[in-house]
Symmetry: C2
């Protein structure tokens, strides 16, 4: 890492601002702000109620302890179930009470008089302080004057970013398969995605260069994209994760072609390494210290961002709770100021109940406690991923191979085909006779290295009676059968960056292992298995 | 009121939807939603974390009791200061604890497993239920199929509404003086306000008709406005309130010219009646029952809305706390669906900490308790308004007259001029000699009948050495002198709907009585008084 003396400030990237962003006022507070904080100043300027009228004298929370989840356990668990076993305590989560009074004893305590008042869109100072320290330690931005700004989750973050950077009619770069809400935020404004092919690390740098170098403005009907939306860790929906070398390559291409990178990274702390089949899995007593675990994670784009061209989006949705509706930008101060103005006309500051609870939790836990909490969560998600793929391996014969072409180049692919015995038992005698060539695969998957999802590539060409061009119909047909049987999964076409750009013959499903109990996951995989096997024999 | 049998459904107003709103997807959940809630369904479709991973076992709040503030008291107070006096209890707010567990004992209890999860943009069911009942009882919409939808405060509400209804280049109708953030939300999108002159009840219906009837598309450069933004109660910044008859007139004009009314009503429950000078004020033992007090309030536009052309914006910012970032729309179901889609790409649902705290508070208080709380608040704001104007009357000679023309037609106007004795004492001998015509007014005001603000119309023509055209310069000059002396107020030009449309010679200040203690307000009025008096003699 460069020393702070040597680091440079962000370069001027103002030419990326959209017309909408330029049209926003400098600040609605205009001349007033310079008087704020003057000793003895009496403000009759705003429409602020007296805090006496806030109907809460205090709020508090029973906060789980940071070590609520084991970092070595290989089963998903309720919080502290492993601690119950360890200490034989009763079936209650281990908690500490945190309290936020309306009026603090010391002015720098988190308090409701401030948190429940109108606040600037920069959020509570205690939260901002924690976030700044966290970004500095964990992501280590490569330039000096980076800043952070709270938002209400990464959907809000991307919405604000894309409207701050793009004009109607423009295109932005993204992965071939991507998060549907990111598209829902931009498309109504006439801002369109252009997908880049992927491999085992996500977006391919060679494909990105080809796209940018060969951009034909006339044929495409718009200028070369100057914005990229990417989910580089536990990519949604594919589950792949990008390493440092690829990020550096892509960053340099973005420097060359002057592209702003919007790094949406909700799954950063759900990195879980490679899947190891159940019978090869050693008891994983990886008792890394949590801070060391954090430094072992793949770096953020920020670490290579010596120019300030990355807008990183972090959210507390996956690490605290989705309902906290709280996250933050890390970016250069010019963009941050524009993003703040954009926030002022929607939600203003994030909710003060949420901000104060999260701020108090994090300042109580401190950096080390939060690192330990994240470490425990990562172990939980790893156990959940393993459980889901283990359960699939009970339903199907999973055979591994190394991907050599296409989006799974370089990946260890698990291909699911019938288990001979089960197949014989379930199939009618006639079908068994017809199935002379047996064992043709149903689907393939690459186990995710981070995140919440298993992404299945369906081999519908093996469906009995298949005709070319059937894939889309078959995707929704099978999806409906699975739903009717009681299991809801994500149909692949929801995640296509550009439905026209998806190769014909590609059909997918996305299955989440983040929510259900092991019992439900097992049951769901049984239903899924039976429905798929039946469908491949009899798709009508 | 019409009986519910006779009431009609909303008419089709879809032609008002903007291109942006039409371009939004039907729902990102598409086909999935029809399976939600099926018994036994296992969902692997979303990216929801297990609630086991939410780091709070419970949250709770020390909630003030609904009768924390007297409904008859004429002094602003800390909560329960009047109860201390009554019962001689210690200096603590009287509270009851409310708790929200992660996992509820009964499924219809407010709980964190739901509130902190991803939720639909329609919010927590318990909150929605309370809100629906409240709207039905208090606002009594005149059509059958009205619906409500949570948002994150009225700035978000108006932002969503204006983009749902207006295309770039269009104009919307508003009062000549209005809330600056409403303009900041629309102007960057090229959607412009057109001000309508006001009187003692706010927007004038005759002026509205003239504007609409005489709209010259060619001269104005855009189609006739089809959307109105209005703050009909405690109008910001002027403080005037519109009665039932005027609302009916305006509603009928909007039917005739097919205009959608966006009713932004944050100050509805801060209605406080006319100001009575201190020495004429009887001890106001108006001990109305709180529910009767609510029915005595001026009706909402909803009460006259037999077609479903009103989008009403309610916020908890002034009645619970600004930091709750929570409010709701009441409107027809077609608009509600579009507004919901618009919310999904920004904050999604409002924060779950805030939603659950407010929902639990309101369901604990119930309708009667909340009505009592609002009643107490209204009495507080009335006391605060009276205190500020009383304090002005100590600084200036306030003379009443009846307005006959212009924006104060029909109002009781208080005109502030020098108090002879004070003036003589403060002025230099020379100035006193020059001031042969003494007593020329400094400013006029109409005491607000609702809300948080006193709006002063400055008589800068009486400033020594005044020349025509000086008003704008003088407004900021005096504003700066007052700020430098330690009091921050709102400069009038911030509130101009259309700066070009403001008559030359109009200069104003807005002073808020919502926040400061009586001691600070008194001090601020003294500083204001001295600075104004000095300025009118010596504006340099």
């Amino acid at each position: 890492m460069q020393s702070s003396e040597k680091r440079q400030k962000a370069i001027d990237l103002s030419h990326h601002l959209s017309d909408l962003s330029r049209a926003r006022a400098t600040s609605p507070l205009k001349g007033l702000a310079r008087y704020f904080g003057r000793p003895g100043l009496i403000s009759l300027a705003g429409g602020m109620p007296s805090p006496d009228y806030f109907p809460f004298a205090a709020i508090s929370g029973d906060a789980l302890v940071p070590e609520s989840f084991s970092v070595t356990n290989t089963q998903s668990e309720s919080s502290l179930s492993w601690l119950w076993k360890l200490f034989g305590s009763n079936r209650k989560e281990k908690t500490n009470n945190i309290t936020i009074p309306k009026f603090p004893e010391h002015p720098d305590e988190v308090n409701l008089a401030t948190a429940l008042q109108y606040g600037t869109a920069t959020g509570l100072p205690q939260l901002q302080k924690f976030i700044n320290n966290f970004v500095k330690k964990v992501y280590q931005p490569a330039y000096e004057d980076w800043t952070t700004l709270v938002q209400t989750g990464n959907t809000d973050g991307w919405s604000r970013a894309v409207l701050t950077l793009c004009n109607p009619g423009e295109a932005f770069i993204t992965e071939d398969w991507t998060y549907p809400s990111a598209l829902a935020s931009s498309q109504p404004f006439g801002i369109h995605p252009v997908g880049v092919p992927m491999d085992s690390e996500g977006m391919r740098s060679d494909e990105l260069r080809t796209l940018l170098a060969g951009w034909d403005e006339a044929a495409r009907g718009c200028r070369r994209p100057h914005v990229m939306y990417t989910v580089p860790v536990g990519q949604n929906p594919t589950g792949v994760t990008m390493g440092a070398a690829r990020k550096k390559e892509i960053y340099e291409i973005c420097v060359e072609y002057d592209v702003i990178i919007v790094e949406d990274d909700p799954y950063y702390f759900l990195q879980m390494g490679a899947y190891v089949p159940k019978d090869e899995r050693a008891s994983q007593a990886s008792s890394l210290d949590s801070e060391k675990w954090i430094s072992s994670l793949t770096p953020s784009y920020l670490k290579f961002d010596y120019q300030g061209r990355v807008i990183r989006l972090d959210t507390f949705s996956k690490t605290i709770a989705p309902g906290s509706r709280l996250g933050f930008f890390t970016c250069n101060p010019r963009f941050a100021e524009r993003l703040e103005r954009a926030g002022e006309t929607s939600t203003q500051a994030p909710c003060g109940f949420g901000q104060s609870m999260v701020a108090q939790l994090l300042t109580t836990w401190q950096f080390d406690g939060y690192a330990r909490w994240l470490h425990g969560l990562a172990a939980q998600y790893k156990a959940r991923r393993d459980f889901m793929i283990d359960a699939l391996s009970e339903e199907f014969k999973l055979k591994t191979s190394l991907g050599t072409t296409g989006s799974w180049r370089g990946c260890t692919i698990y291909t699911a085909s019938p288990k001979p015995l089960r197949r014989a038992l379930e199939m009618s005698e006639k079908a068994a006779l017809l199935d002379a060539d047996g064992g043709r695969p149903y689907f393939s998957l690459v186990p995710p290295s981070a995140g919440m999802f298993v992404w299945l590539k369906m081999h519908f060409e093996n469906v009995r009676g298949f005709k070319e061009g059937d894939e889309d119909t078959l995707e929704m047909k099978l999806w409906t059968k699975i739903a009717e049987a009681g299991v809801l999964i994500g149909p692949g076409h929801y995640f296509a960056a550009d439905e026209d750009g998806v190769s014909p013959g590609e059909a997918h499903f996305r299955m989440s292992f983040s929510f259900s109990s092991e019992e439900d996951m097992k049951k769901a995989m049984k239903i899924f298995g039976a429905t798929v096997r039946e469908f491949f024999e009899n798709p009508e």
